[in-house]
Symmetry: C2
Subunit: 333 residues, 2 copies
């Protein structure tokens, strides 16, 4: 049996092997992924993001647990759930996230759950691309909901937003102006806001501040932003809800499951799903194109012309832009 | 007088105009920047990063204020200080950071300080590139210390690390495991660690945790990592210090100034400065090359072949990698 068939038939070992191949960018992995591609496009991709200390991993853990407890709306069985835990904050080390793995151990016995930790090696672009590829593999392997968890409050969030159908942003109760500073980013990527650790003092304040921020932006900006994101002309709209959870106790998680399904339903009826899918594929392909073009260019420069250009810039003989210009001219002629 | 001359002679208006041109990626701006390039390479680039809520802006403000209070070591006058406040958390809106501007108002009367806020428009790559260009412009304009402040706990930090000579990471007192989650990233990019808001309860814990983390990693990993970063063979080494500050009251800032100068001195004597400069220029040029190659490729595809490829991928007829492969083959022949 080919590894493609094995994965389509639910062979976990074959899937795990493919994911490793994807991480190593092996040609065999790419070939398998290409063969699997026609079988993808069925999964609901859910990005989950938040700063360190918000209890993200515990929440993802609990969310998977609760998703497995009841049938998908309209189906007889619970969804199969894939979890991809990404740590872009450690780009130089390339190690996996031991803490997450330990915390997720209690899900490991469930054959309807598949967990994969990924750490960045090199550029964030590479990580985003690998994450997208892992998502495709899990999709082909029949996981209907794929939870993609990332640490971070910067570009990683945005990359998730462009790679997920639904984005959940997790906040923890925080001091005053902290939320303020982050609100623009939140408004622009969150479909669902969760205030975790809702039982610690100050949580009410955080919830109130977030609701107020959404409301203030709401009537004008936010609804426009949402309309823009799901395409004009739809008369359905989505108001970003602010949920409260205590993930360590499982509190608020059933409501989060409901909201997640509601957003899926909303995306389907509003046409937002196709729009996001289109954006997702386009950004994925742009990133691939970028990398391939650079690879191809540098391969043709085996005589070290790029290194020479770097040296000239270091010696202030040319500006970076000039040097690149020269380099490209040289290649063209 | 050309704008190049005006900037070299300290004309703030000409400088401001150039920075706007850089942000807008105008050709005129690029030309001026190229003309200024031979006059760069003198500034000490300092990256300052930390999650929202750590009091970063106040600290940067205070740091600039204290830097201006006393002469640079070995000089008669205080350094001229440039501040670039970057907000990558708001990539879709492109607005400037009003809060930062207001907070920095009290520096605005000082002709030895120049402040610029930047928000991302589009990709982080674009922002990193624009930030690097703004740094060059301030360098040419004679600012000896350039403080580059970014929000974020993800890729943004890393981009700063590869674009700065010295990186300061700011933490605020936080709950237990929050620090843990982030420590790998911190160890890998920080030259100086600052626990701000050191007067609020829990600060001692945060400082102790950070010191312990550094110590545990210290004897083995960290010193290796540092050695790797500044080049092998040097018998000078740098131990990442953990400083405590209360930026709102200016407490601990003089010590931070001392530490900053000490790190500069260390970089100069260890050869680390050249190493970092080399890395910085290389990464900047790689990013430029990347963008230029994509632009050039897409220009040659005016018949919409890229759009067609996206469509085929959306219809699952080809995988993204296959589609890009085809696209590149087509261009070659």
């Amino acid at each position: 049996m080919t590894s493609t068939d094995a994965i389509l038939q639910g062979d976990r070992l074959a899937l795990a092997r493919l994911l490793t191949q994807i991480e190593n960018e092996s040609l065999e992995g790419l070939a398998t992924l290409a063969a699997l591609y026609p079988h993808t496009g069925k999964a609901h991709l859910v990005g989950i993001t938040g700063a360190p200390g918000t209890g993200k991993s515990t929440l993802v853990n609990q969310l998977a647990h609760h998703l497995r407890k009841r049938p998908t709306p309209g189906e007889d069985t619970p969804p199969r759930v894939g979890i991809v835990a990404v740590d872009p904050s450690s780009p130089f080390s390339g190690g996996a996230i031991l803490g997450d793995r330990i915390r997720m151990r209690d899900l490991a016995g469930d054959p309807g759950v598949f967990i994969r930790s990924m750490a960045s090696r090199g550029a964030l672009g590479g990580l985003a691309r690998a994450t997208a590829a892992v998502g495709l593999a899990l999709d082909a392997a029949g996981f209907q909901i794929i939870l993609i968890e990332t640490v971070g409050a910067g570009q990683a969030e945005v990359d998730i937003a462009s790679n997920a159908h639904t984005t959940i942003v997790i906040e923890a109760p925080r001091m005053g102006d902290a939320i303020q500073a982050n609100k623009a980013g939140i408004l622009e990527i969150a479909d669902i806001l969760v205030v975790n650790k809702a039982d610690i003092p100050g949580a009410d304040n955080t919830v109130a501040t977030l609701r107020m921020t959404l409301e203030m932006a709401g009537s004008a900006n936010a609804s426009m932003a949402v309309a823009d994101r799901v395409g004009a002309g739809g008369d359905v709209s989505w108001e970003i809800p602010v949920l409260e959870t205590v993930a360590t106790k499982g509190e608020g998680i059933p409501e989060l499951v409901d909201t997640l399904y509601a957003h899926k339903e909303y995306l389907t009826t509003s046409g937002g799903m196709e729009l996001r899918e289109g954006r997702r594929v386009r950004s994925q392909m742009e990133s691939l194109l970028r990398d391939k073009l650079v690879d191809r260019f540098l391969e043709g420069q085996a005589d070290g012309r790029f290194d020479d250009a770097v040296q000239m810039v270091l010696e202030r003989e040319q500006s970076p832009a000039q040097a690149i210009e020269e380099l490209l001219k040289g290649e063209k002629s």
